[in-house]
Amino acid sequence: MSLEFTASEMMSVTAARALTNDMTCFVGIGLPSEAANLARLTHAPDVTLIYESGTLQTRPDILPLSIGDGELCESALTTVSVPEMFRYWLQGGHISVGFLGTAQIDRYANLNTTLIGDYRNPKVRLPGGGGAPEIAANAKEVFITVKHSKRTFVRDVDFVTTVGFGRDGKARDNVPNIGRGPSVVITDLCILKPDPETRELVVTSLHPNVTREDVIDATGWEIRFADRLETTPAPTAGELEVLRSLKARTHAHHSGQH
C-alpha cells in the first residue's frame, strides 16, 4: 500500500528520524521544533528537548509559535534563566545536538540568517543570529532542516551568521573545544552530509519520487551525489498520523480556537 504524503511531511518525518532517544537536543523554532517533537511523539519518547528560553526537558502538547510560549515552560522539568541556559547547559557541554533552520545555506553548511545583500545596505534584512552562532560551536553536532530551493541553497552565503565549516571548509580545524559541526542536512528533496575530507555537502539519499535533476535544479552550486545514493524510506502511516494531529492541534491553538 502506498501512502499519500507531501514533500513537507517527508522532510519533517526524515528530520525527526535523525533524533534518537538518548540525545539532548537544543531546538530551534519552526521546522526543527516540528521535527524534534515528532521524534518525541513517535520513536524517541525520552529525547531531551531544550529551548533557548530556558526550558529544560520540555514536552509540549502543541508546537510553540515562539521560542518561549507558556506551553514550553509548563511542560518542562525546570526552567532556568537565559544566561544559565547558554553558559552552563550549552557552553558547559551538555548538548549533544543543535537542531537549526536557516534562510540561506552554502556548500560548506554555513548558515545566513542576517541579511541578503550588503551589510550596510541590505536588500532584505533577516532576523539575525539569535542562539545559532553558539549552538553551532558548542553542541557536539548540528542537524539542519530547511526547504530546498535555489534561493536558499547558494554557493556562498551573503553573510556567515553561523559557521558550518567556514568559507573554505576548514573553520573548525585545530579549534579547541568546538563541536563537530553539521552532520546532516534534511530538506524536502533529500538528505545531505558533509564529505569527510572536503566538508562540502553531498547528497546521500533522495526522497521517494525525487530525481537527481530535481535536486540539481534547486541547488545553487554544482551539487555532488554520493556513489552509493540511497532512497529515503517513505513516512509510515503512524508517523503521518502523529504529525498531522500535532499540526492540527497546533493550528487550532494558535488561531485562538482552543
Binding site: G68, T79, G128, G130, H254, G256
Partner: protein
Amino acid sequence: MAEFLSLQDAVSRHVNNGDIVAMEGFTHLIPFAAGHEIIRQEKRDLTLIRMTPDLIYDQLIGAGCASKLIFSWGGNPGVGSLHRLRDAVEKGWPKPLEILEHSHAAMACAYEAGAAGLPLAVLRGYVGSDLPKVNDQIRFIECPFSGEKLAAVPSIRPDVAIIHAQRADRQGNVLIEGIVGIQKEVVLAAKRSIVTVEEIVDDLGASVNACVLPAWAVSAIAEVPKGAKPSYALGYYERDNAFYKQWDGIARDRESFQAWLQENVFEKGAA
C-alpha cells in the same frame, strides 16, 4: 528603595530623551504597557537594547522613539519579519536606525556581566561568524591560563531597565515566575529600573529559591494588569499568538501601522 508610581509618572520620571533603555522579557513578560507609555510621552533618540526586539520595539521604532538598536534576534517569532524594524534599517523610515547586533549568548553574558559590575563578558562564541566584522564591540582575547581564544563583549549597563513581573508585595519586593529570561540581570545591570506588575499583594507567596528582586534593588513599581499583553504572564494569561500573526499585516505598511498606533496607543490613556 522601590517607589510605587503610576505608569505615567514612572516613565516620565525615569526615562529621558537620549537614554539607553533596556526593556526585557524573553518572549514572556514583555513590558508592552510601559512601551506604549514611552510612545505616548514621545520620548526620542533612545538607544534601545533587547535580545529579541519583538513587537514592542517594532512599535517603538515605528513610532520614531529610537535612534539605535542593540539586539540579537529581530524577528516576529514563528511568523516572520518585524516590518517596522526592517523599514527603519532598509529605508530609514521614520528615521535612520543605527544597529549593533550580537548573538543571544553574547547578550545574555553581557547582561550578566553588567549585573556583576564587570566591564566585559567572556564567552566561547562567534567562532567563524561574520558578526565580529560588522560589530566592533565583538573582540577576541586570549585566556591568560590556557591560551584559548575567547570572545569578549562589553557588559551592558543601561540607564534604565524596564521589566514586567507577576507580583509585588506592599513593601515593593518583586516575584518573577516562569521563563525568567534576563529579568533579574537587566534590573541589576541598570542605573534605574521600572517594574510593572500584574498585581500588588500582601504576600508574594515565593518559594525559598524563587526569582525575587528585593524592593531596595528596584527604583519604581507600577501596577499594570495585563501589562505584558500580547505577550503573556504565566499564571495570569496566555500569549496572544493570534495577535502576533495579525501584527504581520498591521505592521507591513506605514499607513496601517500608524492607524493602529493612533487607535491603540495614543487614543488609549495611560494605565
